[in-house]
């Protein structure tokens, strides 16, 4: 793979631009050219999904059809986007009636869904398209003596039958990538559990409690940093640490996997948006052999 279309989604550019910047920098370092998608909309996750299946399928279908025009696979970095695009692709590939309805809607714009392109979540691109050995070869400044806790995100790995990313009950891609970069991955209770993020709109208290339970478990396991592969998870696991109910004064840095890999690959700190992190990641960067990037 040498070229891929980045579908940024709605939340990442606004609330976690460092994730997208780091992803572009890391993929380019690893030989994958990242191209932008123009005029794309929201994937329809949750909000439209809960109202109309066809509208939801049409929103994702439009993005897929636009990628078909470019003839390139889509890279999704958000769990919800990756999930929506894959679920709708699955629907459109297997349900002729739905495909007909969606194509009627897309025809207004001169677009057509045929199912030609694939949707790849970032973890798939890193682990399968680029490959662990290729990443390993590119590491120039490995970490030393740092423990990471991987958080995968529900929609990234589930439902496996459709999304086909890692083992949903025992995921290892982030752990393996971090170990390649010299870190030690620690196991912790509730590793595959939700971050609580999607509950925020309905019940903030419960959402926060879920997130904080996760932080406590990570703390007990002795991790120095939490690595994510979805900006919703990243934001949620960060903000629950600023909640008053959080008794511990020590905050654990939360970083998207690409932002963590970047410095080890010798990428300039500025390109990774490290200064934008709400929890200071410098203790993590100090673990780089030969000091901070």
């Amino acid at each position: 793979m040498n070229e891929i279309l980045l579908y940024r989604g709605c939340t990442t550019p606004v609330r976690l631009p460092a994730y997208e910047a780091a992803t572009i920098a890391v993929l380019e370092k690893l030989g994958v050219k990242v191209r932008d998608m123009k005029d794309v909309t929201c994937c329809g996750a949750q909000y439209v999904e809960s109202i109309s299946q066809i509208a939801f399928a049409a929103m994702s279908g439009r993005i897929l059809a636009m990628a078909e025009k470019e003839g390139l696979d889509i890279l999704a970095i958000c769990g919800a986007c990756s999930g929506s695009l894959k679920i709708n692709k699955h629907l459109l590939d297997h349900n002729e009636e739905a495909r007909g309805q969606v194509n009627d809607i897309l025809a207004e714009e001169g677009l057509k869904y045929t199912g030609k392109v694939r949707v790849r979540h970032l973890l798939q691109v890193l682990a399968e398209d680029i490959g662990f050995s290729e990443v390993e070869r590119a590491i120039v400044k490995p970490y030393e003596g740092i423990k990471i806790a991987a958080h995968y995100g529900c929609h990234v790995t589930r439902p496996f039958e459709i999304v086909q990313v890692d083992d949903p009950e025992n995921p290892t891609i982030i752990d393996q990538l971090a170990e390649i970069a010299g870190a030690e991955s620690v196991d912790y209770a509730g590793k595959t559990r939700c971050c609580g993020g999607p509950m925020l709109a309905m019940d903030e208290k419960i959402a926060t409690k879920i997130g904080q339970e996760k932080i406590k478990n990570v703390e007990v396991a002795g991790a120095d940093v939490i690595l994510t592969a979805c900006e919703f998870c990243d934001l949620q696991l960060t903000q629950v640490q600023f909640d008053e109910a959080m008794s511990s004064t020590r905050r654990i840095p939360v970083m998207p996997i690409t932002q963590f890999l970047g410095p080890a690959l010798g990428i300039d700190e500025d390109r990774l948006g490290l200064g934008l992190n709400r929890i200071d990641p410098s203790p993590v960067l100090d673990a780089l052999q030969g000091g901070s990037a």
Partner: protein, 436 residues
Amino acid sequence: MSNGAARSNNVLVVGGGVAGMQAALDVANQGYKVYLVEKAPSIGGRMAALDKTFPTLDCSACILTPRLSEVARHPNIELLTYSEVQSVEGSLGDFTVRVLRKARYVREDRCSGCGDCARECPVEVPNEFDEFLGFRKAIYVMFPQSTPNVYTIDAEHCIRCKRCERVCERGAIDFDMQDEIVELKVGVVVLSIGYKLFDVRQYPRLGYGHHRNVITAMEFERLINAAGPTKGHLIRLSDGRMPKRIGFIQCVGARDVKKGVPNCSRVCCMYGIKNAVMAREHYPDAEVTVYYADIRAFGKGFEEFYEMAKTRFGVKFIKGRVGEIVEDPETANLQFYVEDTLSGEILDVEHDMIVLCPGLQPAEDLDKLAEMLGLDTSTDGYIETRDAFAAPLETNHPGILVCGCADGPKDIPDSVTAGSAAAMKATILLSSGGAK
């Protein structure tokens, strides 16, 4: 010895568990010769490793052991243990069977089972009979009542120090022994090949293999067994302490479409309840809870036993599938959420020990055996019988019969019944067609 036209009146029974033993005895007692082939060094099968039976709480070994001797001493039964069937050719009345007799490096005709060799053997190996919880030597018998009562050298772990050879007064040790192929002529083949248990690791959320105090039902059987690795002391594997709060989780690898096991495996409810009762018997103060999907107590005396578990033995039953089990890193206690679906309440519980009760699955390599014999298998992987009502023990290959768990999960009484029935069917086939 025989030309192709000769018909054989012998019967081959494949698998020396409780079903195969029953089939062998019932054929032999009608005057026919039986070859009983067993893969392990001893006959007895799964029942030999169980502590108690349901619903009567009889001692499993006490029922089984006399049968083991009966099989071993029967003049019409030839035991071929530590042996595997390699091929079966021919048809009803005239099968040619090749059996691999693995070298046990101990001569069956000389060994008296005294055990001097094992006392001398310096190599300790995790004992598969105890679910790898205890140890055995590299020269060993599977369990004290092993039948035949002959030692076997585990070639994989033996270091060839030959200390056993020096202490054996009967000269039974033979390091030059080779694997052997024997050819048998039989008229009918009975398959009683047993089952395997679902691999509970396929449920990572239950933590088996990761949380030390999550064990399987077979491990529990060995822990409460007086001949087991702890001499019958039920202890936690993390710290050796007595568990005070024990939970049993039912339907692990049964009635779960997602794991490819949609069927109910018939025995888990009852063995789960039996083990829960035994836990209370061991520790009357312990809190014992069974988490179940449905209790299927359909057999004779089963519902009464279930009732007794609740009322007389004080076992608590909660209808609900448990969530992710979390291990407390300090205490190694186990915590999880479970919905009590009868009250709708979400419970947050903690246990000292969790016993997973796996479902039954077709025996290891059953598919290969079926292919070799040209037998149909059903969608759940067991051997398909010709007709559930008219020919429940007959396969699509005339002269090849099934009993025990070869065609589906069965408990001990049902396995024995099927073994007897298969024996009857076998001799009917021989007397009406085989020897004529």
